[in-house]
């Protein structure tokens, strides 16, 4: 029993496709078996909603009169420096960028009130953004200064382009030291006072397609409330990471680079956030459809929280020093219960990635497909898998 994406799209067009989310498929497979479930279900929607630092947007602001060449100059959006190393009026705003006068961690832990992630959210929300730029002036682009308000609707292009999103699994962070630490995994209290994790587990896209059999370059996805595409493996993609018997990695492994039209997106699914003592970033909502082409793919999507394992890592020492040390393994059912056992002690858990928001995205996305608003795409190339030897290397300092 196998189907093609073209056949599934035909059913979607007719409004006849059977779509369930990655949580619902679990019960369905348990009830009816893989064979029956594969026959019945056409698409499984997966989703995640969590902080993703390697995110940002490129914008083309249009030419002023007289013209200015921002490339090689300086550009600030709501006081936040944007990258201006492109042509005249193309700029890139990164999620973690901070105003130059932000005190950062001078008074520890820094508050990081407003940064790139927040500016992206404001832009998407349709708010005016203050642009201040200076340039060196050329014969063809004589202007040296520009100060104006810009708005998403007036930009020629506004494109969310994230080099690394949707991590396939992540660490569980604890703090073994005797003082509170402030990390990208949140506030971690001394002596294992809490444990933070960051994955939607059984709903998470790449955990439902562990060997990248359907998610590839060219996959059309739900991105930030609009439509986007997977355009490459994400940076630090590490398919050769250790895996369990069910092929699901038990450490951070695959990642995705994604792109999509910012003008279609919503500030509900692109949210600028602050991590005290760490900085600012952007929470991104992503949904990825998995076409149920055969039983193997169906079985993968039925993965449950208790079958997905993650490593407990000490963020006071092992992580910052780049040591690959694990304090043990836990699964997402344990993590989601609110309490895990680490070194024979109960530790309360919290998540940075919102499971309930991921479920909301998976549900909305399901409706899009059911209503024929969204068609699946055939990947034009596949992501490097475990057998390619592709891996994530540390820096060799010279």
């Amino acid at each position: 029993m196998s189907k093609t994406i073209a056949e599934i799209n035909e059913k979607i067009r007719k409004g006849k496709a059977v779509v369930v989310d990655a949580e619902e498929i679990i019960d369905l497979v348990e009830e009816k078996g893989v064979k029956k479930a594969t026959q019945e279900v056409d698409v499984v929607t997966t989703a995640t909603f969590g902080p993703m630092c390697s995110s940002g947007a490129y914008l083309n602001i249009g030419h002023s009169k007289p013209k200015i060449k921002l490339g090689g100059g300086r550009v600030y959006l709501n006081n936040i420096p944007a990258y201006a190393g492109f042509a005249a009026v193309d700029i890139y705003l990164g999620a973690t960028a901070l105003p130059e006068d932000d005190p950062r961690n001078e008074v520890f832990p820094g508050k990081f009130e407003y940064g790139g992630g927040h500016a992206i959210q404001d832009l998407v929300a349709g708010k005016d953004i203050k642009l201040v730029a200076s340039a060196y002036g050329t014969d063809c682009y004589p202007r040296k200064n520009l100060k104006t308000l810009i708005n998403l609707k007036d930009l020629n292009e506004a494109v969310l382009f994230n080099p690394r999103n949707a991590y396939q699994n992540y660490n569980v962070a604890v703090n073994l030291s005797d003082k509170t630490i402030y990390t990208y995994m949140g506030v971690l209290k001394a002596n294992m006072g809490n444990a933070n994790y960051c994955s939607a587990g059984q709903l998470s896209p790449l955990l439902n397609d562990p060997l990248y059999k359907t998610i590839g370059i060219g996959s059309r996805i739900f991105l930030g409330g609009g439509t986007g595409y997977v355009i490459w493996q994400g940076t630090q993609h590490n398919p050769t990471a250790q895996r369990k018997d069910n092929d699901v990695p038990s450490v951070p492994a695959g990642t995705l680079a994604v792109i999509g039209d910012l003008k279609e997106m919503s500030s509900e699914y692109l949210v600028g956030i602050t991590m005290p003592g760490y900085g600012v970033t952007l929470t991104v909502g992503i949904g990825i459809p998995i076409p149920i082409l055969n039983e193997e793919i169906c079985r993968y999507t039925a993965v449950k929280d208790e079958d997905i394992w993650a490593q407990i890592v000490d963020y006071s020492s092992s992580y910052p020093l780049g040591k690959k040390e694990s304090l043990g393994e836990v699964n997402y059912a344990q993590l989601k219960s609110g309490k895990i056992l680490v070194k024979n002690r109960d530790v309360l858990t919290g998540s940075l990635s919102s499971y309930s928001k991921a479920k909301e995205i998976a549900t909305i996305f399901k409706e899009w497909i059911e209503k024929g608003r969204f068609l699946l795409s055939e990947p034009v190339a596949y992501l490097p898998g475990p057998d390619t030897g592709y891996s994530f290397k540390p820096l060799k300092e010279r």
Binding site: F49, G50, P51, P109, K111, G186, V187, K189, N191, G193, N194, A195, N196, V271, I273, T274, M275, P276, T283, K336, S337, G338, L348, T349, G350, S351, L352, S353, S354, Y355, S356, K357, K359
Partner: protein, 135 residues
């Protein structure tokens, strides 16, 4: 007579220190304990109202500072801004009183104001600024 409502946070090693006794005996203050949470391995938290002469109050607070007790004014109100909350749950483990709890089925949080002691621990931890403190 002056009055101050404070939240005291102190490390485990200070749990043995008879703080309230000293405030009463040595600093001549009226100590009203509003709420307390002290367990041997964790940080202790004490919400107190101190009243007494202005100078006595100042000396009492200096004494606490010398002990390296973290002192914060007791908030009047903590507000959970539900529309900003994404239910990530990262604040939950920081709450000493289970004022923030998670429904493990929906993985959504709820905030029980009556249990909140306004310690403020959850506030900087919320990436979405969905919890507000009002003094």
């Amino acid at each position: 007579m002056a009055k101050r409502r404070l939240v005291l946070t102190f490390p485990p090693k200070l749990v043995e220190e008879p703080i309230t006794y000293r405030l009463i005996k040595d600093y001549d203050l009226v100590v009203n304990i509003l709420r307390a949470k002290i367990s041997p391995e964790e940080e202790g938290r004490l919400m107190i109202e101190l009243s007494g002469e202005k100078s006595a109050l100042k000396r009492g607070v200096d004494y606490l500072n010398r002990l390296k007790v973290n002192i914060q004014p007791l908030a009047r109100d903590i507000r959970w801004l539900e529309e900003k909350c994404t239910h990530c749950t990262v604040c939950v483990s920081l709450c000493p009183t289970e004022a923030i709890v998670v429904d493990r089925n929906s993985m959504k949080i709820s905030f029980n104001k009556n249990k909140c002691i306004a310690c403020g621990a959850c506030i900087p931890a919320c990436p979405y600024k969905a919890i507000e403190i009002l003094f």
